[in-house]
């Protein structure tokens, strides 16, 4: 039974996996070639990897990406596509009447998605590191160290897992592809505001945690993993109750509309409030979030009322 569902999911998504892998390799190779070209222009002996690679913290070098930022985007996109594509292409209809339990389908799709993401990450890193290994000019040193690599990989994988989970969950509850992408881009960008809050809390002026770089990296990685686990388990519960009559609507679970609205308003107001300079900006962000959120979540009925009003006026 498990083999069959694995085969079915693989058959369905293998093109996506291969395409994502090829695209990731292409971007990785292109980045390396640009770096090599820049290094070839530089005179004298130089080191590609900075000495900070020897420390237990996320490596942030100039030319050498220990864990390419691109790999976060790959995980982000895969989480979104794997869940959204089956909804958009009506493959869920086939899955739900396939004779496999929804839980089996959900977890199989999840582990295949995560395994594919991991393979793509490993392959991209291997190719990127390999290109530097074989193509660097003799006058450019290439010395790696485990502390920086392990921390960067751990943080990178946890972050990728978080990105994957965030998009996976969002694509499970949002039924409109365009609106889903806009929502996710907005939320992903807003995470920089959340990171700024953590930095303020960590500073001596905040809660005074005063964590060093490595501790912050592992705390952040741990937070991503915990958040991902919560989203995956919550997603499994929702998937079991997913009823396809709301296909094409913004929220596939209409009963989530009010909770989503409250969370959105509190989140936007909170992020702006923490990072804002005065109370006015907090009040304004609250009003804007409340109005925008209401329009966004209730726009079908708002638009229907608008059309009714207009046709009555014209008629």
């Amino acid at each position: 039974m498990q083999n069959q569902v694995t085969k079915l999911i693989w058959r369905r998504h293998r093109r996506t996996f291969v395409l994502a892998g090829l695209l990731s390799l292409l971007v990785g190779v292109a980045n390396d070639l640009i770096t090599l070209h820049t290094l070839n222009q530089m005179p004298g002996h130089t080191e590609l990897v900075k000495a900070s690679i020897n420390h237990w913290q996320v490596y942030e070098g100039g030319s050498f990406p220990a864990y390419s930022f691109w790999l976060f985007i790959v995980a982000w996109a895969l989480g979104l596509v794997l869940m959204n594509q089956d909804l958009k292409d009506n493959f869920n209809q086939f899955l739900f009447s396939s004779g496999f339990s929804r839980q089996r389908v959900y977890w199989t799709k999840l582990w295949q998605g995560l395994a594919a993401t991991f393979v793509i990450v490993v392959l991209t890193l291997a190719v990127q590191y390999g290109i530097f290994w074989v193509s660097l000019p003799a006058r450019v040193g290439f010395h790696l160290a485990w502390p920086g690599l392990i921390t960067s990989w751990g943080y990178g994988l946890a972050g990728s897992l978080g990105m994957f989970a965030m998009c996976w969950f969002a694509a499970l509850i949002v039924g409109q592809t365009g609106a889903l992408v806009v929502t996710l881009i907005g939320f992903t960008l807003s995470l920089s505001g959340v990171a700024a809050i953590f930095e303020r809390l960590n500073s001596k002026g905040g809660l005074g945690w005063d964590l060093n770089g490595a501790q912050l990296a592992w705390l952040s990685a741990g937070s991503w993993v915990v958040a991902a686990l919560i989203l995956f388990i919550w997603g499994a519960y929702l998937y079991q109750h997913l009823s396809l009559e709301h296909n094409g609507e913004y929220l596939l679970f209409p009963e989530l509309r009010v909770p989503v609205y409250i969370v959105f308003v509190v989140y936007v107001t909170g992020v702006n409030g923490f990072n804002g300079t005065d109370g006015y900006s907090t009040v304004i962000s609250f009003l804007v979030a409340a109005a925008f959120g209401y329009f966004w979540l209730w726009r079908p009925s708002i638009m229907a009322k608008w059309h009714r009003w207009r046709s009555q006026r014209e008629g």
Partner: protein, 297 residues
Amino acid sequence: MTLQVNNLSKQIDKRQIISDITFNWAPGEIIGLVGRNGVGKTTLFRTMVNHYVADAGQVLVDDQPIQRTPTRQRDIFFLDTQYNFLSNYSLKELPDFYSVVYPNFDRQRYNELLRHFELNAGDQYRRLSKGMRAMVNIILALTSNATYLILDEPFDGLDVIVRENIATMVIDEVADQRKGFLISSHDLNELDGLSDRVLLLKDSQLAHDYNLEDIRATAKKIQLVLPDKTIPAVLKEHSHLIRVSGRVLVVVITNYTADIDQQLRALHPVLLEELPLTLEDLFRANLAHDTGYQLLK
């Protein structure tokens, strides 16, 4: 083997679409599901196969609820003609999916039927005409070898040749009593000669469950020409008038007895002959008043 639908209900956007639907279905039966457009036929199918989560009720195959024993869903085939994933694939790729889900999927027969109906296996499903898609849908249904096959408006918008092909395939398939069909239609003519039992949906409920053989055993459709223009009492009392054209009357008598026959002959009609009784006649005679059914002719 039986499939039981027990008290199935589904509400969408606070509107009750189907309510307390209950019926049994055995292999060998071709059941017609009729009802006006928007009455909930497709919703019933989608709820039966778990596309929609039912608010109440359950579907059982051999007394096993499919919600708790999902593998029993493989005994049911339903291809949603409006929302399906086939558009992204070529015809030769489709068995790769269906053979995983339906253990007895007959790939060889699938390819033979494609060739028989001159469908190119390399063509993308989305590039096919409506009639060709309908043929592919029915081919997938038959070759899945599932026991219970649900066809949603399989004749809708198709030309007479394709309709006849599909009807012939359906009839051939139930001959060995190992498969059953549940076919929805809003046009009674499409089900004529095909269904032996008809379920009628009205106001979100199953209004009637008719065995057509039982009805046909007692009913008669008669064309008669009477010497004068007044309609005699026996017809007023026992028949349903289908058509009047001058002195020619076409009536359906749902409970035709020897006594009625004698009374009719006593009127000395110029012409008295029996006509083939269609499904539409039966509905016109039995149900037109209380079902609100749309009679299309």
